[in-house]
Symmetry: C2
Subunit: 324 residues, 2 copies
């Protein structure tokens, strides 16, 4: 059994060793750059952890796992172009460092590279792995599309928001685990249980992100608190606040959502206060707890010993307590 940290090192070493230097430079340098920006490598590690529940030798699962990380980074690259985001992991985004044409095209090439790596799994798993990946990848695009559409809508419902983050974020965690299980020759039932474990974990994770962006400790969280409030991002907190707000607070909330010229600290403080008054912080924490409980239920049912599932349990435990 490998630990999370051991697998992270394996993935990091594989990514460092990728040969992405063939001409044309403008196509492959950005790939190397964005993959080199780091990150937790959560998705490929989930692939390997799931496979490791069923087999010890992960040598044939490693490249497909890297393929998932390449795909994830491709989505970040294109999302950054679409969001016109200047910074990713404290460095310039690809379209800032090069230009948006380079970002579009090297992203396209990355998505093909992802298929090459994922397709390097064993023959007997190829169709099933591709089928999970295709569906997941398409859903990630659907999630991004909903996310963009929500920006110009003022009537987004809680259920719509949850569906959007499920598609944009959660299914790729579930899909990673399911692909890993398939490559480990698990039963279909276990592969599905691990999928739902991952989806619910992803939901909890994303809702935590929303919560930490408002109520996190800046010195621990590592980035500015309140970004979502300043940009009026329709998060679980804001959508619930809009649904629950009583008449006497509505004018106040509306003012802060519409005002163009404001002091950032003042806006953050005011909106946080409204959130506190409406108890959406507690509501959000409750929802997060529910998703964590649900994900653990699925993990409990996976038909391998508790000893084998130790790393996955401790991953969940770590996430439940995370402050970054």
């Amino acid at each position: 059994m490998y630990t999370f940290i051991e697998l992270q090192k394996i993935i990091e070493k594989e990514i460092d060793g990728l040969e992405l230097s063939s001409p044309p430079q403008g196509l492959f340098e950005p790939m190397q750059y964005i993959l080199g920006l780091g990150g937790k490598r959560l998705r490929p590690i989930l692939v390997l952890l799931a496979a490791n529940l069923y087999k010890d030798d992960l040598s044939k699962v490693c490249l497909p796992a890297i393929g998932i990380e390449i795909f994830h980074n491709f989505t970040l690259l294109h999302d950054d172009v679409m969001d016109n985001a200047p910074i990713r992991r404290r460095k310039a985004t690809v379209h800032e460092k090069w230009n948006s044409n380079v970002a579009i095209l090297s992203g396209d090439a990355m998505s093909i590279k992802a298929y090459q790596f994922i397709g390097s799994c064993e023959d007997r798993h190829l169709r099933d792995v591709l089928s999970v990946f295709n569906q997941t990848a398409l859903e990630v695009c659907e999630g991004q599309q909903f996310d963009m559409e929500f920006e110009s809508r003022s009537n987004v419902k809680v259920e719509e928001y949850l569906n959007m983050i499920r598609l944009k974020t959660a299914v790729l965690l579930g899909g990673s685990l399911k692909m890993g299980a398939i490559m480990g020759d698990s039963s279909t039932k276990d592969a599905d249980l691990l999928y739902y474990f991952g989806v619910n974990l992803g939901m909890a994770f994303q809702l935590q992100d929303d919560l930490l962006d408002v109520f996190g400790d800046e010195s621990v969280f590592g980035k500015k608190i309140g970004g979502d409030i300043l940009s009026n991002k329709k998060t679980y907190l804001l959508i619930n606040a809009l649904e629950k707000v009583p008449p006497e607070l509505k004018k106040d909330l509306k003012y802060w959502l519409e005002v163009k010229d404001f002091n950032p600290e003042e806006k953050i403080k005011a909106v946080k206060t409204i959130y506190e008054q409406l108890s959406v912080r507690e509501l959000s924490q409750k929802k997060i707890d529910d998703y964590f409980a649900l994900c653990l239920e699925y993990l409990d049912k996976v038909n391998v010993t508790a000893e084998k599932k130790k790393e996955l349990y401790s991953l969940v435990k770590g996430l439940i307590n995370r402050s970054v």
Copy 2:
């Protein structure tokens, strides 16, 4: 044996019947739109023609062939964003009709859809088909990257240009034929011969495009003549002209390449005259003839009866004589 026209109708019907209407609308409508703009459907027809050399029942080859057409349209969609092109097949491009974010994301989703369709081939062909497709798709991106890099370079060599059009255009024709051959259970040798047949056909086709853009008959060609000259596009004609131009004509050619304020008709006429003086028209026609001859040599060697190859021969013949 199916004819080209019969296969075109089959492809057209399949594309018309595609179910691409699920939400989010903003993701799937643009797919339907660009696929509905028409075109010759050359690539999927090549898939089917190649498979048809070896088998009569094409029912399991049709969806993978559609996948190639989806991929091709995805590249057009993203190329149009990168080139900032307003018109595609006489209609507004996707980024004009919607916006560039929609074009980027629906393009991404199209490339995944392409994999879904291509992956619907029979199990025994899956790995080989994907392997050809992955390599081809990556090369198409490389070709587009070289094409963009050439725009800002003044020293592009003839060989570099030929390599660029090989990657950007020719390999997808070769790859389509090879994938069709594989799905027809051809020998590896035949699949490779058909690949090179297609690549050389593609080279001839692209060089013809360059030639027709300058020397075509506007009333037949269907689009404005001289667009490449007006935009100083580094075509086979211009690159050869720059390599061959003697000192006494060099100033003249340079003037037309650098002048900012000019009468379009006058520039087209002047550059055409220089091309005529340098015999680059004949040089280009000679190169086209060479590629056609080479492609026919490969087709001759394909190990099926001449009767079976009839449609491919007549396709080449039609292209040799094309004026549109």
